[in-house]
Symmetry: C2
Subunit: 332 residues, 2 copies
């Protein structure tokens, strides 16, 4: 009896002090817009409606947290792809190599890189491209490679914009990634870039742990000797994570079908990832970024425009950068 009495007194006291803070917090939850860099368009409403319905316990649309799998492309979906960052990394590495071995600049395809011969670089064949990629990325330990990628991200400025690479991230997408994670989604990156490259910055750039990055892969060879205990990155490609290979790698990495998938038009690489998520038995959502904003970002389309055509046919939600995004790039 005495205990109950004391409890009532305590609860009353707590009641005296807590309401102000509690109300402030509730108020904040109601009025805080989870996607402030998105305009108040149908696209934003579609996203919020979807997240609201699948996270509402007891609802027929409810998805348990463990099955709230979302997959996002990276180039052109989370950051700009004009030019593609990893290709810039290859040129950056070659430039460093040419400083060490200037004699290489006498022979192609190194000569073209040294002379910034864009005409040559654009028409060079696969064999020469692979020569450059290997010189830039292969035949080193994973530890060395990670350090080289870090150095690139610390120093490189994005062409024409002269910004740090954090500033070519799309601000509205950063908010979307955070909004989904706060709502219990497991968010994965599913990129055409190589996993080794993107993982170095996935946490810092997107709040996504390295183990949630799916991408193109090269073979590693393990070496264990008196001098070395590490994996060597080779030039042998295991998987090019694009088109139909994206669903396959999603299943191989996650073991589940995504309920939300987001890609972009431009290269047609994401359409099967979106289709795959559409086969989920749960309510699902497909998002396709449309690069239609010449003023603030870039304007480019596929020829023929497979992605936008499929978006229409399969009722995907198209994100118009021009109309749906209040801000395009991250200020920081």
């Amino acid at each position: 009896m005495k205990r109950i009495y004391y409890s009532i007194i305590i609860l009353s006291f707590i009641g005296l002090f807590m309401p102000y803070n509690l109300n402030a917090q509730t108020q904040k939850e109601i009025t805080t817009d989870p996607l402030p860099s998105w305009n108040q368009t149908g696209t934003k409403q579609t996203i919020i409606n979807y997240v609201t319905k699948v996270t509402k316990e007891g609802s027929a649309d409810f998805i348990p947290e463990e099955d709230r799998i979302a997959t996002f492309d990276n180039d052109g979906t989370l950051w700009a792809e004009q030019p593609i960052v990893q290709i810039e990394f290859v040129f950056y590495q070659i430039a460093k190599l040419l400083k060490e071995k200037p004699e290489l600049a006498q022979q192609q395809p190194y000569k073209a890189v040294a002379e910034k011969d864009e005409a040559y670089l654009k028409k060079m064949g696969t064999a020469e491209l692979i020569t450059l990629v290997n010189a830039a990325q292969a035949n080193r330990t994973s530890t060395e490679f990670q350090q080289q990628v870090k150095e690139f991200f610390a120093n490189f400025k994005y062409p024409k914009r002269n910004t740090k690479l954090t500033q070519i991230r799309y601000q509205p997408q950063l908010e979307l990634l955070q909004y989904l994670q706060q709502n219990g989604f497991k968010v994965f990156i599913c990129t055409g870039g190589t996993v080794d490259f993107v993982r170095v910055i996935s946490k810092e750039f997107y709040g996504i742990e390295p183990e949630r990055v799916i991408g193109s892969t090269n073979k590693y060879i393990y070496k264990d000797s008196a001098d070395v205990n590490d994996l060597y990155l080779t030039s042998e490609v295991i998987s090019l994570n694009d088109k139909q290979t994206k669903p396959a790698n999603i299943l191989l990495n996650i073991g589940k079908r995504p309920v939300l998938a987001c890609g972009n038009e431009g290269g047609g690489g994401d359409v099967y990832m979106l289709r795959y998520s559409q086969g989920s038995s749960y309510p699902n959502l497909q998002l396709l970024v449309n690069h239609n904003d010449k003023e603030r970002e870039y304007e480019y389309y596929e020829k023929p425009d497979v992605s936008l055509t499929m978006a229409k046919e399969h009722k995907w939600t198209v994100i118009s950068i021009k109309d749906d995004w209040k801000t395009v790039f991250s200020p920081q």
Copy 2:
């Protein structure tokens, strides 16, 4: 002033009621053994000392949660491997197939399965084994395959023991998995079995999400048509997750080096996973299960015993089933 006064009163009241519960909880934390099925041996102490030191903030040995990566082999490490469960699955599937197509039983290697001709099965070549594995596992959608695996786990009894497959899990290891996860470790399975197979039960059997299973992989082909939106499992092997390939697949899947790795002697498949973890810049721990308990489990050794030899050379912690485990199998 009034506020401070009220606060003091509240704190005093809380003080009156809380000590009993708080003490009870602290008491429980101190006296609850996280590894009750482990005997009080040096092995158990090594594990507890390691976890304690690397989770102690401010200590020189502290590892941030995001880098507390632990990888466990499955067959012979988390559950019994005499016989290997996935090989039993192949025979189970072939038996079902022979019921549907009894005429197959006239030809090898199906005949040997139908007649339980162990001599033939033991000496059959790789080509015939692959024929059986493909008939059991390949050329079906991932959805169909998952259903078939579920059906197998629901019905199959482990040979000679006549127990459900949950009951060939090692109880001390289930406690270790839980103990590590409670201490902020991200625990991954790194198995020679195929990812598609082990993922079906990883959550239920081990509390490990499917995306934290690394294993052998076959190629998938994505099909999107009016009839089907799914991935087809093919017979083409991408990766056999064993020996030097384990470190490579760990890096490809996680992007980080484990700080704790646990495997078993028997096939020599885990030694490079253990060596790889030993190259971590963080304090690290290597555990190797020794199958030396003929009475309660099985007794078997490699010839030559590479794993135990390397354990000695590299100062790994050997788990003696006979001496270190109070109980071997999960009762449920």
